[in-house]
């Protein structure tokens, strides 16, 4: 009896093994569905944009939160804008413009200039009402789009958005084509540059948008800028930093000068001898008597920003360097000075006997 029992036991064990190994397959997983729960909202359905209000908000778009499986991860939202024609067919939204809103941000305000620029890029025409379709994109590990919404918008023609403007004036014969230019700063519509005026009889100038007279600006009686206004001028000979603000329609000219200082210069260590800005060569220059002795460069008669040379052979001066260039013998020299564009801790200068 006993031995048979053992054998059956063995058989059961083996059958049991068979059952255990027939386990269910693991789940075939699906990417979890993620959706916007509602269509996004706009603050206004129809907009008329004005350049005067360039920096004001034009529209505010808001939407509901989207929750992705990884709850701790921030959801990145961005907006897409397109023309109605571009939201159909194979390549729908292919030419859309995107604008980031940010992480876990549920609304986006767009300023008048930004919106204006964008809708014009999308092909809307100035002073004509057009339709813009927009939708929101939410992203954590894959993009999810909201339903699309629309609004109407009438863009305007941006006045002046060239990267530089021109300063024709008496100092160069009133020729916009060869005039010095002012470059646009980080702020759109604000231009800045340096111009040297050497002739006391030639202190007047105007601003033009292109290197021609088509669109030129001068002053009104209140010192503001107006289209085709009066000639502007600086008070006296010297170098000026000129700033033009088309957003506010204002301008200003501040004296701005690099000078040389030290025993080699006419007034020793006591005060600067100003250099003048050479508009063509885009550098500072001084031509005149120098004694033998040390020479350094400084800005606006202050030591705050100054350059000194480490030796008298390389013709490179370094920001805040204690050294100075040594003029070995007195004479008439032309000194030029130009700060390295990439690395403003260095400046290049020349000193040539005349």
């Amino acid at each position: 009896m006993k031995k048979y029992y053992k054998i059956y036991y063995l058989l059961f064990a083996i059958l049991g093994l068979g059952f255990i190994s027939c386990e269910d397959d693991a789940d075939l997983t699906y990417l979890q569905e993620v959706n916007f729960t509602a269509t996004p909202q706009v603050s206004a359905n129809s907009l008329m944009l004005e350049q005067e209000a360039a920096n004001e908000p034009a529209i505010n778009i808001s939407w509901s939160e989207v929750s992705f499986p990884i709850e701790e991860a921030p959801v990145n939202y961005s907006l897409q804008f397109a023309t109605p024609a571009d939201t159909l067919g194979e390549t729908a939204w292919g030419n859309a413009t995107s604008m980031t809103a940010g992480d876990d941000v549920l609304s986006k305000e767009i300023s008048v200039t930004d919106l204006n620029e964008m809708v014009k890029d999308l092909g809307l025409v100035a002073d004509e009402e057009g339709t813009i379709v927009y939708r929101v994109r939410a992203y954590v590990d894959h993009p999810v789009f909201s339903k699309a919404g629309v609004f109407q918008v009438t863009p305007y023609d941006q006045v002046s958005s060239s990267a530089s403007i021109y300063v024709p004036g008496a100092y160069q014969g009133w020729d916009p084509a060869t005039a010095s230019s002012l470059k646009e700063t980080a702020t759109t519509g604000v231009f800045e540059g340096i111009i040297g005026f050497t002739d006391p009889a030639a202190l007047e100038f105007k601003f033009t948008i292109e290197p021609n007279w088509n669109e030129n600006y001068g002053g009104d009686d209140n010192g503001n800028l107006v289209f085709d206004g009066n000639n502007l001028s600086v008070p006296s000979v010297g170098s000026y930093k000129i700033t033009v603000n088309f957003n506010e329609m204002t301008w200003m000219a501040e004296p701005y000068s690099w000078g040389i200082i030290g025993p080699a210069t006419p007034s020793g260590w006591d005060s600067d001898t100003d250099m003048i800005y050479n508009n063509e060569e885009e550098l500072w220059e001084y031509t005149g008597e120098l004694m033998s002795g040390a020479l350094k460069f400084r800005l606006n008669d202050e030591w705050t920003i100054n350059y000194g040379s480490r030796n008298s052979t390389d013709f490179i001066a370094y920001l805040d360097d204690p050294g100075a260039h040594d003029i070995s013998s007195a004479g008439v020299y032309r000194v030029t000075f130009q700060i390295d564009e990439e690395d403003n801790s260095m400046a290049y200068y020349t000193i040539e006997g005349q």
């Binding site: 031995k3 093994l17 699906y30």
Partner: protein, 1006 residues
Amino acid sequence: MQQILQEKVLPNITSLILNSFSILFGLAIMFCTGQAEATPMKDLIGKNIQYTISGEVVDSEGLPILGINVVEKGTSNGTMTDIDGLFSLEVDSEKAILVFSSIGFETQEIPVEGTQNIKVTMQTSVAGLDEVVVVGYGTSTKRDVTGAVASISDEEFNQGAITNPLQQISGKAPGVNINQVGSEPGSTPSVRIRGITSLIGGNDPLVVVNGVQGNMDLLNQIPPNEIQSVDILKDASATAVYGSRGAPGVIIVTTKKNKRGTSTLEYSSTASIDVLSNELDVLDANQWWEQAQRYGVPASANHGSSTDWYDILTQTGYTQNHTISFGAGTDTFNYRASVSAILQEGVVLNSNSDKYIARLSANQKALDERLDITLNINTGILETSNSVQSIGNAAFTSNLITNSYFLRPTDPVFDTDGSYYTDPNVFEYLNPYAVAQTTVDERENNNLFVSLNADLDVYKGITLGWFGSWRKTNNTVGFFLPVESTDANAINQNGFANISNSRQDEKLTNLSLSYENTFGEHKLNALALYEWQQQSYQGNYGQARGFFNNETTYNSLQSGDLSDVRSGDISSYKNDRSLVSFLGRLNYTLKDKYLLTLSYRRDGSSVFGENNKWGNFPAASVAWRIDEEDFMQNGIFNQLKLRAGYGITGNQQGLIPQQSLSLVSPGGITYFGGEQIRNFEISQNSNEDLKWERKKQTNIGVDFSLIDSRLSGSLDAYTATTDDLLFNYTVPQPPFPYNTVAANVGSIRNRGIELALNYDFIRNNDVTLSLGGNMSLLDNEVLNLSGSIEGVELNTDFVPWGTNSYLIEGQPVGTYSILQHEGIDGVGAEVVRDINGDGTIDQGVRSPDRQIEGLALPTYNFAINPRFRYKDFDFSMLWRGSGGNKIYNGLRRNLSLMESLGNANVLESAVDLDLFTSQYSSNLWLEDGDFVRLENVNAGYNWQLDTFKYIESVRFSITGNNLLLITDYSGIDPEINFSGGNGFGGDFGIYPRTTSVALGLQVTFK
């Protein structure tokens, strides 16, 4: 040591093992007590009464045996069985004990116990000296063999879910290493006999099935159930008769035949359930995300699912094996036929294999039995669907299942719309489930061979023989990878499909003359033989891409985008090799004690350079039967034989044809003269001096048995040196257009010791308990790799062999020379030792920053095989192990770098290691490869159904395979590719090995 108990079957296996042991011991104890009761008591009364006992004596196959001595124990009263195995004897007590004995059989004692009629089954003795041993071009007996030969008969075969004959002899012969990597359906094990002796290939032994010679794939065509015995020729003195093809050893398979006077019908089947035995622990979704956050992986890499990729790609597999065989034998005619089906469903999705084999063997005697003609016909069909073998992005390519480890557990299988998920942020993202479900990889292999053998007994021991065989193999592979598979290549090509067909044709014929005679104390056997062989290989290939849809898979290449044809889309090839051989052999025996074998073979092969086509291969061996000497007659030895042999063999099979020639082949398309034209290029460095690789082997051995033949065994020691090694050596470029050339340079040596032992604890009619085992030690050394070709001094040391392993003069093949892990620096990068202190880590092959550290090839192998039988119940186990090698665990490296967290998963162990990145493949990933495996546990019950009308006997068996693995190795399985080819010794992901439990049934009909 860490024990990997195969998780899913743990409780059952433990109980299985415990139960089998308790059964084993329990039965042994019962037997002992039974034995005590059976002690004869002296009868005081019945001296005058006479009993007549009659009975029948049969062998293990149930055939009657003539000439068995039957003696009443303690007396000289006896008789002998007649031609029908019958006997009758008068004894004087019903308590008498009969002793049955005869040379070649185990002696048995049977108590009469009042029975009148006894049926006795004689067991062939383990130390059966007259056991037939098949040697090249003939047979011998075990006592006459002078070389190193291992012989395994069908009773000793491993059982269970067998799909290939080699699995049956795994662990059964020392020095014969059978190496199965993983359990992919349709994949076959590799065999190395006495190590790796050649570099270019040609380490596969020659397979001879009933005289037909072939490569290893010939074994695929043999139904495992129909094999009678497997004989393995190991040393050169034995293999030299096969000349060049025998150098790596010879496996001789003899199939079952029907004996005279029998008529049989048998059915046998096994069915097994196969489960994964082990898997790597990678991070689950929570763990992955925790680690990913530690390393600043953005949330955009987390897709919020929880997928067990390995699990969804695997399943429970099964294996079935059914064979029906029948046959009959008369005095002048016998035949045997069988049909087999071997069906496998793999543990990885969509990998399966079906094999069907039909065979017929017929033998007719004529001319007064002087002429003996045998015809063998064998046809097989093998249909396989593979799980993709090589896929993944450029950084790490492996088989499909290994790819599943790399998938982030947070990736879903499907996108929200039900399409297979892919992540656009991951370069060449691969969804392995998509691959498994959409790839079509269908292979078919058709095999046919026919052989005819005729022997004519001409005159007094002179026999003339003719043998011819023709084997044809056709392979078709159809492959289709659609865009949906997510594979980058498929996406680029908009899906592609290809078909490749190949044909092999192998013809062989030989003519032989043999002479056998005995003159007093001299026994002579001589053979002369001429042989001709030709193997030709042909094939074609077509590919198309950009299909309209996926309906037609690879069945309609013309539906592809025919405007997009690329070079390589269409091709065909043909080449062949022919061999001509002359063989002479002489066997001489003096006084039945001193044996001598001499052989000489001359081979010519077409693959060598013009002046080097012929090679000569002599061999000689001697043996001394010490047990036959007078002075040994009272010794403890039942058998003692000393053997020694020396022989030279050659290798040409590893050499691809056409290497000696400078050839021009098409090299795609080029643009010239304003158009796209075919380009031709010189496709190889030629070497007109290509010649035979020669292996010289010396073997010394001893065969013994003692203590009543209870302890028996053999011990062999050998040394084999291969010279003129064929290899693709590195040559300077310039002047060679390519940096390798096939040439004969260098030499390699293998030395080893092999021991096989068996001990019978209990051995009688009802109970046998024995323990068998074998082990082999292997020492391999690359003696030299230098030489010159065309006046170029080759500088060929440190030839890359596997990952970080090399051929280095003075070191074993596949010696690791590897950078030394030193630690992890502040940014989490691996630091390795700058051994020569020059401030840079040189990763070149000869870098001084590498250090020799172990080798890729196991240096020892062993197997232990306890067997037990009680009456009709039998039980056996096979433990097998090997080691001394190291494994470069490249898969672990690729799954351990935390920098990959952003787009892949890592192992749990990587978290502890906390290695962010590494530019090296250092010994951090080198692990010991030693293991012991419980390969096979088998229990069976044989039921003799004398009372049934149609059924003679039934056997039930249950077998567990790969139940236990003991190893320190951290990968899935330490048994990886040891066959010595490229990349061996490294683990870059294998098809998983299964643990299986099989039930077997065998029915013999009347």
